[in-house]
Amino acid sequence: MAQESADLASDCQSWLQKLSAWEQASSEETQKDTCLHLSGFQEFLRQMYEILKEMDSDAILERFPTIGQLLAKACWNPLILAYDESQKIVIWCLCCLMNKEPRTSAESGLNSWIRGLLSHVLSAFRFDMKEVCLFTKSLGYESIDYYPSLLKNMVLSLVSELRESHLNGLSTQSRMAPERMMSLSEVCVPLVTLPDMEPLVEALLTYHGHEPQEVLAPEFFEAVNEAFLSEKIVLPTSSVVSLWFRHLPSLEKATLHLFEKLFSSKIICLRRMECCIRESFLPQAACQPAIFRIVDEMFRFVLLETDGAPEVLAALQVFTSCLVEALKKENKQLTFALRTYFPYGAPCLAAALSQHPEAIPQGHRLQPLLHISQLLREAVEDCTRGSPRNPFESWFLFVHFGGWVDLAVAELLLREEAEPPAGLLWLLVFYYSPQDGSQQREQSMVELKVLINRLLMLLRSGPLSATDLQEAAESPSGDPRPPVCGQLVRRLLLSLLLWTPEGHAIVWEAVTHGPTFEITGPGCCPRIWRSTRPQHRPRAHLCCTEMAHTDAVIHEIIGFLDQTLYRSQHLCVEASRKLARDLLKELQAQV
């Protein structure tokens, strides 16, 4: 408390000097400088109030001798009084300064002075024309009667001026000059959270002039964006989209804001994720290709930084789903439009991926899967058409549409053919190990094929048990570094358990039977985009590693179950969904 108080005393002196500087010069530069510091000053006021409210007047004046001057200067600065909650906190600080039991004329004078400041703050505006005041007085009105309607009418007048400017935009003489537009947007910076200002803020955001350069102040966009993201104001979709389209830093902040919301929770819940994404307005804004590119680029960056973290992949897929839905609402031709949004992928690949997997009837799903697999393989491995593209580009495009992987797993496990199609094997191996070279991938496909055949044989040979599954999933050779990614193995096992009647019988046993999903042991999943050296750990720490890994596996299973419930309505019957819900509830209780 003492240290904090000392810091505030120093801050108090610093802010007093700045307020004095602002007071002496009322130029545009001063206004800009003030606006830049409004947020910081408000935070300072808030901290100051937290201290002052615990002190009496004498103690305050002793510890902060200049507090009175500082508050007085704040009271005479309309930018501060107009900004967010600053006027409220200034008032609270003044109330703290009141001497509850004045004993001297100086102390009584202080109280009188404070009341005068409060009165001034509450009557901060007066028209300069005295005759105008005479009119309202003759009618019997006070400022409290006409402030609201006067402000409303001021806003309406400015909006009308803007609209007339817009309508007359075709003429060489615009009604509102660019300089005035700039000034207007600058004045609005401290006012964006005032509800009365909403029509003007919206009009400015959606104003389309004919000047080659942006005529609104970047500080205005930043202020609106900050207020919108902190939910202090509500804006229609069109205004938000316009804001982000005209001021890309705001779009980046909005996207980061969404990421913080999505990834702050340890538990992945796709429904909740979907709600967050929809409420962010970003899918609607991303219907603009230029906006989509930026948001998508940020997703790409996060994927690379997190080495393809499951929650990021899930978020990307939900976002893409919301975007497709928003595009449909705009009546855009989806197939053609997606080429604009994914220019780095082959056009036919984007078109193929944009089909809804759930729209394809059962029994006809293999062909589009094989088609997608072929297109991806050509893009990644085929050297005859020039140098192969960076595998990440194709993989990044592919993972936008996660439903296809679900379909591929289902086709492999529920098929009736004797041999799993090579295209499906390739697709799954590529999804989970995209950085592998073609030779490594071929080997992984062989191993995957063997695994699937073993699982299916086991399925048809009589009652299942968790131990049987575990043994089938392990490599007979006992290779400590099996080529098939552990995540893929676990996904196959879980899908088998959830989607087949035989699996239903033992799913609880399998989930509670620890070794079942500890298929490949610690360090089984190499990082998607970084090579991982084998790590030899001291034997004494092995238990800790296994424990941590067990938690990671549980989280992975939870994610899979949640995804199943979110997306797999077309893949499994209600019994499977109920089972998934029960399992999910059980596992979430354990975490």
Partner: protein
């Protein structure tokens, strides 16, 4: 009902007292109870705002008690506590103990942010709106003036509404007072704005509101029955503005046209200059007369027709001369017809 009216009347008296020297006997407890009283009446307002009979009963009796410093309307109950707060803050006669307690009674702090029983939120919003107005007015341009006129027109309209539909004498008295106290040019501007209020209102339901029409009719009647005001109105307002108002009110357009023709008769033809000139200094010059008639023609088709019919009938009475300089009506018609052709 009656107790409610009495409560309101007594608060109105209290409000009137809050500006004066009697507050020197108030203690903190009395201030607290006064604010509680205001809060109670705020709830009354919210409950009965939509009930016409109760509201009318209260509005009839409020102006009689408390005088000009008390509650002037039922709507004022909504801001009774804020109004009381402002008056007490400004009143140096308030007793010391009450004055010390007043700030914390008005602004308890963050815990009261969402409480409706203290005026903190409403007062803070008032402060913020005032500062916002100050910033926006710095921009200059037409917006401040335009907003002020519209606001004053709305206030005038509300006041006329409060006077009731039957009491035209009270409305006339109010308007005469405004005219007498001035500033007269501002009163005329506000009058014009008020006459345009409903025509500019985008909501069609209000356009057919009989209660709303009453205020406009009161204002219009006063204007038409006050020759001095009407003459100033028709002379002071810009031609285009006046044409807009006239286009919305037929009676006014006829009166305006009558005045224009009367002013036209005061011009005489100067043979040496070859132009129509005012007889006296204060008479309307020829150029302005032409401009106003042209504006009327452009405002509404029916106005154009009326102007032309009026001028042609006057021309006929003058003998239907076609030569310039013989009849002002002939020359005015030439100007208007040339303007039409050019347009």
């Amino acid at each position: 009902m009656e107790p409610l009216v009495q409560q309101t009347e007594r608060f109105s008296e209290l409000l009137a007292v809050s500006c004066g020297s009697l507050v020197s006997t108030w203690d903190a407890e009395k201030v607290r109870r006064a604010l509680q009283w205001a809060r109670y009446l705020l709830h009354v307002y919210r409950r009965f705002a939509g009930r016409g009979r109760v509201r009318e009963a209260l509005e009839r009796r409020l102006p009689a008690r408390g005088g000009p410093l008390g509650l002037r309307s039922f709507a004022a109950l909504e801001s009774g506590d804020a109004r009381l707060a402002l008056r007490l803050l400004r009143n140096r006669a308030l007793a010391p103990a009450a004055a010390r307690a007043l700030p914390s009674l008005l602004f308890p702090g963050p815990a009261a942010d969402h409480r409706d029983d203290v005026p903190q939120s409403r007062l803070v919003l008032l402060a913020r709106r005032g500062s916002a107005l100050r910033l926006l007015c710095r921009l200059g341009g037409d917006a401040p003036r335009s907003a002020l006129l519209r606001t004053h027109a709305e206030l005038l309209d509300a006041r006329l509404h409060e006077l009731g539909g039957a009491d035209s004498a009270a409305a006339r008295k109010l308007l005469d007072t405004l005219w007498t106290r001035g500033p007269r040019e501002h009163v005329l501007d506000v009058t014009a704005e008020a006459l345009l209020l409903r025509e500019e209102d985008p909501e069609p339901a209000q356009a057919t509101d009989p209660a709303g029409a009453d205020e406009t009719q009161k204002l219009l009647r006063w204007l038409l029955e006050s020759p001095e005001v009407l003459a100033a109105f028709c002379r002071h307002l810009p031609a285009k503005r006046l044409a807009s108002v006239a286009g919305c009110h037929h009676a006014l357009s006829r009166a305006y046209l009558d005045l224009l023709t009367t002013w036209a008769t005061r011009l005489h033809y100067d043979l040496q200059k070859g132009a129509w000139v005012p007889t006296q200094m204060e008479d309307m010059p020829w150029e302005e007369l032409c401009l106003r008639l042209q504006s009327l023609c452009h405002a509404q088709p029916f106005l154009q027709e009326e102007v032309l019919v009026t001028l042609r009938s006057r021309k006929a009475l003058d003998g239907d001369f076609e030569v310039p300089g013989m009849s002002i009506w002939t020359d005015l018609l030439v100007v208007l017809e040339c303007g039409i052709v050019l347009e």
